[in-house]
């Protein structure tokens, strides 16, 4: 099949150059070129991330100094913060939109959208995605959903504020919270469009990986990045439609008087007619997406990190097959663990036991991956580029955040830490911070590929990394403690009754670290914007990497390779491979063998 695709691609190549008169609009706006779409995803994702992080700073300040007034609140929040005092309802809105933006818009679209688009065609040796047109539609739907999400911030009664999990009845009834009016409608519309975008993207990625691999690129020769994007896309296709169904039912409950999730409700002085629905049903549907979603976020980061770590260690990734197997195992398990978000939702305790079992099983492939990354470093020749630092940082936060998952996944222990700050600390480390490190690692590593050999400034990168990792630990380590003190999350203030008064200083420490960490992101932002046009140009293959994208033209042309598509003869991890008599590298003086180099005579053949 891949051979056929290759021929086809070559035909395509022959007539390229004749009819590609690109206008500004087709090149920069409605582009069907995967490289441009990838940049569009990245920049939109970073923009949304800027909003999301800014929101977190506002509510962190509120938590640290609940009885102080800040003019910045009034400037940014307007009527919801008159006199610089934050309104409780806008606090909930900030928390909700922060979660939504970070999970979906930054870590799903910004991470997987950017790098799947950039790397799938380039690393498998294809001229573009299977359908450039669908790819373009996918981005513009994402853009539209971002617009709706941002617009929802400006509606009269405020944006959605029922938490990013939008559990009904709170999210279904405007009487229950003002944000469940027009704000919630826009939220649902935005998410519905987002799901459509994500499905179009995912189908495209799957088809491309299956059909458009170049000659010789067998599945076991795929770089781990591609494996990760491929499996992520599969999970997305399996689980996102379920969220769409939940969203549709919620829309009907809200607007057309159905009772999917509502029953026996007395609110604002009257009984609602709804009967027979169950909020627990919504929780099942939501988490059937919601849990795979965290793997949709983390798997691409894992793929990027595996690739970057091997390249910068100048070593093959340790246990390639085990890495692939654990990606598949994680993907499979991720679809049967959603109930661990619902141990105390009122579902049958026996179900809780089953979900505890499946959940703790996920620790096994995760442990295998962590050990394999650590072994990849062992006896390497580590090139400490910023991307490598972020990759090592990823493993660090994945371990520290992942280990506390053993507590939360255990139903008996979950009883007392459920919905406390312990959970917040756990998932921020393991999926928030880790996935962001993956994103940053990817940006530092593939920036030259995106911007025609321009490179990010490495010293700013070092500052960015070290301040971020210290700051992030400073935020989330102490947060475990206030969680174990029993502090519930989503409290507008913790000092309304005296029991948690002694947590005030922890909250101040967390907020100060959060402010410092956010400031470090400005360094990155400056570096990014500046280097897009003024970055120093590096060599064609700056990291001496084996994968095919570095053999493609530096200048972005439609079709990626000016000549024929390279043929693949080996896997992508032949770093520091010695010749048979172990006198030198296979290619003398060069410690890497790109995938398109044929096997040498004095080289031992691997099983790839």
């Amino acid at each position: 099949m891949s051979a056929h695709a290759h021929d086809h691609a070559e035909d395509h190549h022959d007539d390229h150059g004749h009819h590609h008169k690109e206008t500004f609009v087709t090149k920069y706006i409605f582009s069907q070129d995967h490289k441009m779409i990838s940049k569009q995803y990245l920049i939109t994702g970073l923009f949304m991330g800027f909003i999301g992080i800014a929101m977190s700073l506002l509510f962190r300040m509120q938590l640290a100094w609940p009885d102080k007034t800040f003019t910045i609140y009034e400037i940014l929040l307007g009527k919801w913060a008159e006199g610089g005092v934050m309104d409780p309802s806008v606090y909930l809105a900030l928390v909700t939109i922060h979660g939504t933006i970070m999970v979906f818009f930054v870590l799903t679209a910004g991470l997987s959208g950017t790098f799947s688009n950039l790397l799938i065609p380039l690393q498998i040796g294809a001229r573009d995605m299977a359908s450039g047109f669908l790819n373009m539609i996918s981005y513009w739907l994402f853009f539209l959903s971002s617009v709706f999400m941002v617009l929802s911030l400006f509606v009269e009664a405020g944006p959605a504020s029922a938490g990013w999990t939008i559990y009904p009845p709170l999210s279904a009834l405007p009487q229950a919270i003002p944000g469940s009016g027009a704000g919630m409608t826009l939220w649902l519309v935005s998410m519905a469009i987002f799901i459509a975008s994500s499905l179009l993207g995912a189908l495209n990625y799957i088809v491309t990986v299956i059909n458009l691999r170049t000659k010789g690129m067998s599945m076991t020769r795929l770089p781990l990045t591609i494996w990760a994007f491929f499996v992520t896309a599969v999970i997305g296709v399996v689980s996102f439609p379920v969220l769409l169904s939940a969203a549709l039912m919620l829309i009907m409950d809200r607007s057309f008087g159905t009772s999917f999730f509502l029953s026996d409700i007395y609110i604002a002085g009257e009984v609602l007619h709804n009967q027979g629905g169950s909020p627990v049903l919504f929780e099942h549907l939501f988490w059937f997406l919601g849990h795979p979603e965290v793997y949709i976020v983390i798997l691409p980061a894992m793929g990027l990190v595996s690739e970057i770590m091997a390249t910068n260690s100048r070593k093959p990734i340790f246990g390639y097959r085990a890495m692939v197997a654990s990606i598949l195992a994680i993907a499979f398990l991720s679809t049967i663990v959603w109930g661990h978000h619902m141990f105390i939702s009122g579902m049958n305790p026996f179900l809780g036991s089953v979900f505890t079992f499946t959940t703790l099983l996920i620790a096994i492939p995760s442990a295998v991956k962590s050990f394999n990354w650590i072994t990849t470093l062992w006896k390497g020749n580590l090139q400490m580029n910023p991307a490598m630092l972020f990759s090592i940082g990823f493993v660090s936060t994945f371990i520290t955040g992942g280990l506390t998952g053993i507590i939360l996944g255990d139903s008996a222990l979950d009883i007392n830490v459920h919905d406390t700050y312990f959970v917040v600390a756990h998932f921020h480390l393991v999926m928030g911070v880790s996935a962001l490190y993956g994103l940053f690692a990817g940006v530092y590593h593939w920036f030259p590929k995106m911007f025609e050999s321009r490179m990010l400034n490495k010293n700013l990168g070092y500052i960015h990394f070290w301040v971020t990792i210290i700051g992030a630990y400073g935020v989330f380590f102490p947060m475990h403690f206030i969680g174990m003190a029993g502090l519930p999350r989503r409290y507008y203030t913790n000092t309304n009754f005296p029991y948690f008064d002694d947590l005030a200083d922890v909250n101040v420490v967390i907020t100060i670290f959060a402010l410092i960490t956010a400031a470090a992101q400005l360094v990155f932002l400056y570096n990014f914007i500046h280097s897009m046009t003024y970055g120093k140009k590096g060599p064609k293959n700056p990291w001496k990497s084996n994968t095919l994208e570095w053999t493609a033209e530096v200048k972005h042309i439609h079709g990626n390779w000016d000549g024929p598509i390279p043929e693949v003869h080996r896997w992508s991890y032949d770093y520091s491979k010695l010749n048979k008599d172990e006198s030198d590298y296979v290619i003398p003086g060069q410690d890497f063998i790109p995938q398109n180099i044929a096997l040498h005579e004095n080289e031992e053949e691997m099983n790839h």
Partner: protein, 353 residues
């Protein structure tokens, strides 16, 4: 005018910096194209910093324990709570051991194998034995944890009616709690939000004979040593009945009745004498005294000194006042409990009024 001048100065300053930057750029010799790729010097510095990262995480953790170890929840005040705390301790020890070792290996390898031009990495792609070892060890350890966890969970969640637990309803609404005791018959009267009317705030069925002796209160009193079976209901949106000191939590779901049972094992009075609690109350009162000084200086009323009480908190986002949805829980001797309960009117008495 001043504003204009300020803006002008800022702009000119910006232009000056930009121009200077340009001059510096131009005065520098042409750099080689590898300048943004890590050099041996970068590898060296970052290698050392990576080693420092391990120590930083350890020290941060130790610091957190030293500084904030005392904010953690005190000992469990329920019988099953000990089991949860034990499991938590075992899991925590495991986590610390694994975390300590893996973070050390990560940082140490990053330091030890930091790149040098003359070094050569080892081509080491696979080792079935190693991979088998670190697959099987987590399998065994997790199997143990899962089994222990499941036994603990089943013990807590499967309520044995042979224990003859006292049935109490916890009723959640925006933004407060009510408790309904089932009275002498230990059976709650039927209730539905559709029956809410006037003083019958919980929608209890007036015609149900079981409902007549029900007692609705705003403060939860529990006798020590008696198993209590809580039946949770919600009037409007999802709430969660979280009683951290008893290691107990269950969501309150509109349209269904959820349950959770535990046996209180320490009275409020005993808990107030507990060393940890005494320390905590002292710290909180010190904070409150300092705050009171500020308040009185401004001519406002001083804060009352704090006294420890068990709490029932709402732990599921439920609306604007979510942060203040709580109820006091008092655990006392059977006698004190009965005396208190006798002073509370039954449902029949309330309705008659």
């Amino acid at each position: 005018m001043t504003a204009f001048l300020v803006v002008l100065v800022i702009i000119l300053f910006g232009v000056a910096v930009w121009q200077m930057d340009k001059i510096f750029q131009m005065s520098k010799p042409k750099v080689d194209e590898n300048s943004e790729i890590a050099s041996d010097k970068d590898n060296n510095i970052n290698g050392y910093l990576m080693l420092g990262l391990a120590f930083f995480t350890y020290l941060l953790l130790i610091f957190c324990f030293w500084k904030w170890g005392d904010v953690l929840l005190p000992k469990a005040a329920s019988e099953h709570g000990g089991g949860i705390d034990n499991l938590m301790l075992i899991t925590m020890i495991l986590i610390f051991v694994v975390g300590f070792i893996t973070l050390w290996l990560l940082s140490f390898f990053a330091f030890k194998y930091r790149g040098k031009k003359k070094n050569r990495a080892l081509f080491f792609a696979d080792n079935d034995k190693l991979e088998f070892i670190w697959t099987i060890i987590p399998v065994i350890v997790l199997a143990g944890l899962i089994i222990y966890g499941l036994f603990t969970w089943t013990d807590i969640m499967n309520v044995d009616t042979d224990d003859d637990p006292m049935v109490v309803e916890l009723y959640a609404y925006q933004f407060n709690w009510r408790a309904r005791y089932s009275g002498n018959d230990n059976t709650l009267g039927e209730a539905n939000v559709r029956l809410i009317e006037g003083v019958n705030q919980l929608g209890v069925d007036v015609s149900d004979p079981n409902a007549q002796d029900d007692i609705i209160v705003t403060e939860l009193h529990l006798p020590i040593g008696r198993k209590v079976l809580f039946k949770m209901r919600s009037q409007d949106v999802l709430h969660s009945a979280y009683m951290p000191h008893f290691r107990a939590q269950m969501n309150c779901v509109p349209g269904m009745i959820t349950q959770f049972a535990f046996t209180p094992s320490i009275t409020t009075a005993e808990m107030r004498l507990d060393e940890e609690i005494v320390g905590k109350v002292q710290r909180i009162n010190k904070i409150r005294r300092d705050k009171s000084l500020e308040l009185t200086a401004k001519g406002e009323e001083a804060l009352e000194p704090y006294e420890f009480d068990f709490l029932l908190l709402c732990n599921k986002i439920c609306g604007t006042n979510h942060y203040n949805m709580q109820m006091k829980i008092i655990v006392e001797s059977q006698e004190d409990y009965e005396v208190w309960l006798a002073t509370q009117p039954t449902f029949a008495e309330v309705i008659k009024k």
